[in-house]
Symmetry: C2
Subunit: 206 residues, 2 copies
């Protein structure tokens, strides 16, 4: 079975040339609980799908305005579905400076003690005492991909992008799950600093 998995993965990726990972660039976005969706958009409201994303997520048609402690606002921030167990706002370090808020770099879901932020929708407002983070660079992969790449869940690797700017991202966390599609997730600062667009690829270097 393992041999079969390895063989399948090897067909897609050649270890000699380095393990290749496609990159997905995340713009600032919001994840919401169903309760918060209803507060913002009205009782019984459900997010509507605009575009399918990797890993069963989708960009919704719904957007909100976020407002930080210094009362500076960002409009048209996209909500990603499906709804989650906790609401969370993911911004870039550039956004954090513009909003004037101190925002920690965190793994998605790790919001304890993160920045407070207000979310404004057409029917109401949600104030998160914590929940605003800058997402930590990471790579989603299936167990088969992990086997081929020779990495394990929780490992930290470096990822090299060879293009006009030329950048190596260190401290990139590996997250392995059966449901994951192979993709490195970076934010718009990282993408722009390294001249990367969604669909570009990087090589794992250990």
């Amino acid at each position: 079975m393992i041999t079969k998995l390895v063989m399948e993965a090897m067909n897609q990726n050649n270890a000699e040339q380095g393990f290749v990972v496609p990159i997905g660039v995340s713009a600032r976005h919001v994840h919401l609980t169903q309760a918060d969706v209803e507060t913002l958009f009205g009782s019984g409201y459900e997010l509507t799908k605009k575009k399918e994303l990797m890993g069963g997520q989708f960009a919704s048609n719904e957007v909100v305005t976020i407002v930080g402690l210094k009362l500076r606002a960002m409009e048209n921030v996209r909500i990603l579905g499906p709804v989650r167990k906790a609401s969370q706002v993911e911004i870039s370090a550039t956004d954090a400076i513009k909003l004037g808020i101190k925002t920690p770099i965190r793994e998605s879901g790790d919001i304890k003690g993160s920045a407070p932020i207000a979310i404004v929708g057409p029917k109401g407002v949600v104030y998160l005492q914590e929940g605003c983070i800058i997402a930590k660079r990471h790579i989603h992969m299936s167990p088969e991909d992990a086997l081929t790449a020779g990495v394990n869940n929780g490992d930290t690797v470096s990822i090299k992008v060879e293009n006009e700017r030329g950048t190596t991202f260190n401290h990139v966390q590996i997250r392995v799950d059966k449901t994951y599609t192979l993709e490195m997730h970076i934010d718009t600062d990282e993408a722009n600093a390294a001249k990367i667009s969604t669909g570009d690829t990087a090589i794992i270097i250990k």
Copy 2:
């Protein structure tokens, strides 16, 4: 003489631990000719100094609004002095996306075929047919620093920044001149992607 220079440089920097370079983060800014200063601020006007910068440059008190081809504007863009032989606007890739303009990554001064941009001042307007660039990463150093670091003018090196995010910038150009103070120049995208502030340091790795 060379020995003396090397000894002096060695006192400041230890090659065994890697050559250390302080980093300066450049926000979007404008360089102007004296003629363009006068068009924007009035006949006979001279830039006034707000803050001294490295290498004899200064941040002026004067700011302008820049407007790209799609008529999107950015306000309060700082002018750096002293005046130059050609006007030039330096923005980040994030800014370029916001302005909706295609902007090449270039060395300062290499503006041929770069993006057009309008500059608006309180007394007039300048339209640059070319002159808007994203600055290419580079390191300014004196001949003594170059000797200690073991690099030459025009070399390309990699620079590693060890912090929470952890990033290596490849394709970093070395520029050696007697008038240069040791400093790596990066833009706000690069700084924010790598969690760098002005005054942080990086190590040259070849």
